[in-house]
């Protein structure tokens, strides 16, 4: 890899930036109401929304992170692919349709469809914003490091460029621009991944058996590379991480928001099917990306470029496809980061502007024009906060921030979603305690974990022994979220069976006034 940018690299970067700006300009003419801004007017079709969900999901952490993890740790890296994919079943079976039937713009809308309380709404908005910020810092730190590496510019300049681009998409094009940037990026990412995988398979004579046989001797780990245990040797910690992966997705605000961009539950369903196929095929291909990088780039060169392995996929592209493929893959990685952070800004803004400002402070008495203005101010606020945090968080480990976001989502959001839809006795106090217990326990447990504490100086932020040995506390914090909601519910006498019947009917039939008025 050379330090200066080649002509092809500049061409691909400019093409991607230009294309996304054209989309934003086109979308800006279609963005006038709050519903346009937050949910693209609910007008996406199943395949469009499916591609956009896949786009939201295949973040830089997936594309660069998993390819690197498989390259360095063999099967242990592939755990992420499995967890992230099976998570879609939780989304589809438990969350997607009731959420579409009950909500409007945000998770808080769905919970307050049952408990009309500004405390519930405020708590839901707080947990949404917390998750969004952690996830966004992770993406921005990763983006800064990547672009710094690719273009040879300073970290802070790189973060500002990404921050400026994402704010532009959201501010002018709202959800329509964000969705189409996602769709195009998902297609480009799939094309890039399929080409690299094809080249890797070609090197192995199109034989999976040969590939495994050669991988047995390709790394210094020998046959152990093809089995679990290289990275994750603590069984309970492995299980805890896999719990966070599979349950976290169903609580991620920017994924949940994607179910409001379609017109009904049936379309929400078909978009999950599209997403599951695309994401599943992608995750299978991560095997070829990872194995290929380990074999044709080599562990040493991967670690030399980036200690976490994030450069494995681009380096593999360069090794097998030369400068053109390398530039293309880098540009796609750039587009991936831009699209995901734009989606995150939007979901953070919806919690800030719609939930906190529109519904709590203004009590829903807000005109359409004010809503759109508030949404734009909210977007800028979320963008500025996360850019500032990212500038100060350069040394934080990206994978840790992402897994923390998944852990909070699974602990704070999933229990309250499940209780709201399926538990008759659940009440306002329970909703608040479920969210707060999940949120606080996830944060506190991470704060005392080996992620932040290490007895050897320089290995973590603080010097000292961690109180728990779990790098991901989901195995404790998710049950705590459920328990908190359960105890909070029983401690309060409040119980509104009539309201639950209404929620139950709406969630299961999707009935609304339009259905019975004709």
């Amino acid at each position: 890899m050379n330090n200066g940018m080649s002509f092809t690299a500049i061409f691909f970067f400019v093409a991607i930036v230009g294309l996304t700006l054209v989309i934003t300009w086109w979308a800006s003419k279609r963005t006038s109401s709050a519903s346009d801004f937050y949910t693209a007017g609910g007008g996406l079709t199943g395949w469009q929304n499916g591609l956009a969900i896949a786009g939201d999901y295949l973040s830089a952490a997936s594309f660069l992170g998993i390819a690197g993890a498989v390259a360095l740790f063999g099967f242990d890296g592939f755990f992420f692919s499995i967890g992230y994919l099976v998570a879609y079943l939780v989304v589809l079976y438990i969350v997607a349709e009731p959420l579409r039937n009950l909500g409007k713009f945000t998770l808080a809308d769905m919970i307050t469809a049952r408990f009309d309380s500004s405390k519930v709404r405020g708590t839901a908005a707080l947990s949404t914003i917390t998750i969004v910020l952690f996830y966004m810092i992770a993406q921005l730190v990763g983006a800064g490091a990547l672009i710094q590496l690719l273009l040879g510019i300073d970290y802070w300049v790189a973060v500002l460029i990404v921050g400026f681009m994402m704010t532009t998409y959201v501010l002018f094009g709202g959800m329509t621009a964000t969705s189409w940037v996602q769709i195009i990026k998902a297609c480009l990412l799939m094309i890039g991944t399929v080409i690299i995988s094809f080249l890797v398979l070609k090197e192995f004579g199109f034989s999976i058996a040969t590939m495994f046989k050669e991988m047995e001797t390709a790394t210094d780990s020998g046959a152990a590379y093809l089995n679990p245990g290289l990275k994750y040797s603590n069984g309970v910690d492995t299980i805890s991480m896999l719990i966070a992966l599979v349950l976290g997705t169903a609580g991620l605000p920017h994924i949940l928001m994607r179910f409001f961009t379609v017109k009904d539950a049936k379309t929400a369903r078909s978009s999950v099917i599209w997403a599951t196929w695309i994401v599943g095929i992608f995750y299978i291909l991560t095997i070829f990306l990872g194995f290929g990088a380990a074999k044709f780039v080599g562990k040493e060169d991967i670690i030399a470029a980036n200690a976490a392995g994030n450069m494995a996929a681009p380096l593999l592209a360069e090794a097998l496809g030369g400068d053109i493929l390398f530039s293309f893959v880098c540009a796609v990685a750039f587009a991936t980061i831009l699209a995901v952070v734009a989606g995150l800004v939007l979901s953070g803004a919806s919690a800030l502007s719609h939930d906190i400002y529109g519904q709590i402070i203004k009590k829903g008495k807000i005109t359409e024009k004010e809503q759109v203005l508030a949404a734009r101010i909210g977007s800028i606020t979320i963008a500025v906060i996360s850019i500032l945090l990212a500038l100060g968080a350069q040394t934080l480990n990206v994978a840790f921030l992402v897994s923390l976001a998944f852990c909070i989502a699974g602990s704070a959001n999933l229990p309250v979603i499940i209780y709201t839809i399926y538990w008759k006795r659940f009440n306002t106090a329970g909703a608040i305690t479920a969210m707060l217990t999940g949120l606080i326990s996830a944060l506190v447990l991470v704060a005392v974990s080996p992620n932040l504490w290490n007895p050897v100086e320089g290995k973590a932020i603080f010097v000292g022994d961690p109180l728990i040995m779990l790098t991901n506390p989901a195995i404790i914090s998710v049950p705590l979220g459920f328990l908190g909601g359960f105890i909070g519910t029983l401690l309060s006498k409040e119980s509104d069976a009539k309201k639950y019947r209404e929620v139950d009917v709406k969630a299961n039939t999707g009935i609304s006034v339009q259905d019975v008025s004709h």
Binding site: F75, F78, F79, I82, G83, L85, V86, Y88, L89, V90, L92, Y93, I94, E97, K104, A113, A209, F212, K213, M215, E216, A223, L226, N227, P228, G229, Y232, G235, V236, T238, I239, L242, I243, V246, K266, R269, S270, V272, I273, T276, W277, G280, Y283, I284, Y422, K498, R501, E502, D504, V505, N508, T509, G510, I511, S512, V513, Q514, D515, V516, S517
Partner: protein, 112 residues
């Protein structure tokens, strides 16, 4: 819910629908399908780290140099896709029942 709040003068009597036998039957059927499948796929999924962390059964070779852990993982991928399509098939039939429930409500108590 904005326009759904019945400000057109039409209120939906949710209790009436909730009390229909057809609705109760649908909810029962849905819940037993959704939760039994969820328990099944989560168990199949969690079994993977449990087996790989505490036993060596999946570390053995299955085909050539490919160990059972890859075969099990491939199985989880296939399971995910199959269950997705099973869900859609089931949900389409639930949709029909939901439509019938709304029609029953409109014909029965919808005129109030």
């Amino acid at each position: 819910m904005g326009k759904n709040q019945g400000n057109k003068g039409i209120m939906i009597d949710y209790d009436a629908i909730a009390n229909q036998e057809s609705f109760k039957a649908l909810v029962r059927k849905k819940k037993s399908f959704l939760w039994s499948m969820t328990v099944f796929f989560l168990a199949a999924y969690m079994l993977l780290p449990i087996l790989t962390s505490f036993t060596k059964v999946l570390h053995q070779k299955a085909f050539g140099e490919i160990t059972w852990v890859w075969v099990y993982s491939a199985g989880l991928f296939i399971m995910t896709w199959c269950l997705c399509h099973l869900y859609v098939a089931k949900a389409n039939s639930f949709d029909k029942e939901a439509k019938a429930i709304i029609a029953e409500y409109e014909n029965g108590g919808g005129s109030r």
